[in-house]
Symmetry: C2
Subunit: 429 residues, 2 copies
Amino acid sequence: MTDTNEQSSTRPASRRDVLIGAGGVTLGAAAAWGVGALRAAGLQPAADAPFPGTSGAPQSVGHKTGAGAGAFGDAVVDCHGVNQAGIATSPQGFLVLTAFDLAASTDLARMRRLMRLWTEDIERLTTGAATITDTEPELAHLPASLTVTVGFGPTLFDKLGIADKRPSWLAQLPAYPIDQLRDEFTGGDLVVQVCSDDPITATHAARVLAKEAKFFATPRWTQQGSRNAPGVTAPGATMRNHFGQLDGTRNPDPAEEPNLIFRKDSERWLDGGSSMVVRRIHMDLDRWDEIDVPARDIVLGRTQATGAPLTGEKEFDEPDLEARGELGFPIIDVAAHIRRARTDDGSQRILRRPYNYVEIPDAGQISNVGLVFIAFQADLQHQYLPLQAQLAELDLLNQWTTPIGSAVFAIPRGFAPGEVLGEDLFGRE
Amino acid sequence: MTDTNEQSSTRPASRRDVLIGAGGVTLGAAAAWGVGALRAAGLQPAADAPFPGTSGAPQSVGHKTGAGAGAFGDAVVDCHGVNQAGIATSPQGFLVLTAFDLAASTDLARMRRLMRLWTEDIERLTTGAATITDTEPELAHLPASLTVTVGFGPTLFDKLGIADKRPSWLAQLPAYPIDQLRDEFTGGDLVVQVCSDDPITATHAARVLAKEAKFFATPRWTQQGSRNAPGVTAPGATMRNHFGQLDGTRNPDPAEEPNLIFRKDSERWLDGGSSMVVRRIHMDLDRWDEIDVPARDIVLGRTQATGAPLTGEKEFDEPDLEARGELGFPIIDVAAHIRRARTDDGSQRILRRPYNYVEIPDAGQISNVGLVFIAFQADLQHQYLPLQAQLAELDLLNQWTTPIGSAVFAIPRGFAPGEVLGEDLFGRE
């Protein structure tokens, strides 16, 4: 750490300071060392990588001026924009996801104040500057592509006396027969999704935001997750989950099809916003290991090794759902996950941004693992609900997976410098 | 993943195949892309980095032939050698530490069999090759500097009927008044320390080893931890713990002072071995945050921001424990952590290799965090016990930290190709 004294004097860098044109054309000298050298090594921080499973162009990437850190630590994702960061951002390695319940004393005026505090915190933290009250400022200095994404749960609107402003689609998911939901991973008035390519940075940032909210809201649940660490896989590679499955193959490219992810809305606060579904899915890996790889391939409808559909050869090949084998049976089983998880209607696709979780096993267990499934879509009812109903009705994979948590949030539009998160909804101080 | 079919045909690469000379002189074409490019970017995978807090030379580093992964994913630490890997290895980003209890049916003959299985597994996994029975072989293909370190607890020897072979020093630590030990993090007949620069690789490898042991031993406890992700900090930087402290500043350099870490022993199985202490230390971050930074600096005897002793300017400056301020009081408090954690006797230093842990907070908590403190030292009685007694007796930091788990293990010497872990102790099949 060469910059440990800067928290007292540094303000959040302006957008111009931290942003560098995508493609490296305008890379400054400091960044040429970091991001430029990484690119030369075939590596990219999340700030600079295409969304996995897409052919998308790298995003704009910044760097934190003056830090002597490793190049992944230096990388900055701009927190400002039409959309909040952390959605179209190529998923960073680490997630800390916290849902909050409002304190009884939090009215609209106090909510505005919390949003102002969080907006400032986000502007600082994502550029590697500690907040003014941070007692461990050194843990803020390596943003490592940190993003913070804030969302509002269905219960928030009643509590703030603005029930009339709740979007009609914003509600908990229907109860599905496959669900075994636990209160400690379900619901919430507010959500804060913190992602970074460094686990300590993510943990610290989530903590700073929770402390800031102390007199406004109480943590309801926290979920942690990880994907591959930075530089471990080639940029843009699809993540594997604990079952060995490639997870997230058929994602839309946020750069090419933003309308699938971000809303056009007559309400200003949602125009450029999104809907977020969180499902905590326990994966019974100890039982999954009792079936062999050919049986798994039938369950998935894909070859586990390559991710290719059973009717194809490569991960991104289109499956032929009509194809039949010599005996006349479908090659892809009628209940295979690949079949149940898709739709012929391209406008129904969702953006999956999942993380693996690992908890300490209970006695007698070898593994206690699962997926923090996170999906963003412009239209919850048109895109997400039909898919979820279809999977809940029939999916071979359901025998080994159990949803144990569920929550839905409205994601407000992004904010420009000088704006405050949610100001069109709550008003401004 | 371009190499998903290789698990069926690839044997563990020979030592010659995977090892590349330190310093990059003999880097082959494939590695030049990966490790060489990383070096050019000022980055190093753990396999190639000096031990943090030392000026040590990079270790030898290998690469996994043929994988199209990111350069951190490709890196291989040789599992063979006079000492087991994972001790002098610059700490990787992620830890999964599992203690096992032997099954009642495990006698010496079955113990030999388990050691043979684990030795083979370790040889495969650390080179990125899945084990033969692995049902998620794709999760083994990116070793990311994977190491596996195996140790034997004091209770193992009685259970196997070889109590006479238990080293006299191998015993649980004495009960300290600061301890609030929980069974679920204490003791164990066997330990397996899995470290990797990728969290999924570490989780998977630990799982493979636990499954392999299924009929021989049962997991007693599991602890996970993380440090900075690869490429986030400059190579060799000291880790910060959740309190913001630089943790591990005064480590001996394993390359320069191996005798502090590895045993010279008349027992062949321990000659080149070590002793390992695991302490799970809960850190009351919510209460720590109630004291300000100047007060913290007094507790630590160091400036939190830079890690410098209060009598110095830089992290590695020697503290002046005799220095007094204007009023005649010691500048470094008599109970400051820096004073209580050190010894004037250089031969008493230990190698700290800690990881941060984060668990889901309980209701009302903001944070549930701590340290998986791991120390290796040649001589437990001469090096570790006096230090621990001194800290337990008086250390300002004890007001915010609580040991909740404790275990001691004897680490057998390393193994050469063709040898089996622990074969001098248990005999060979």
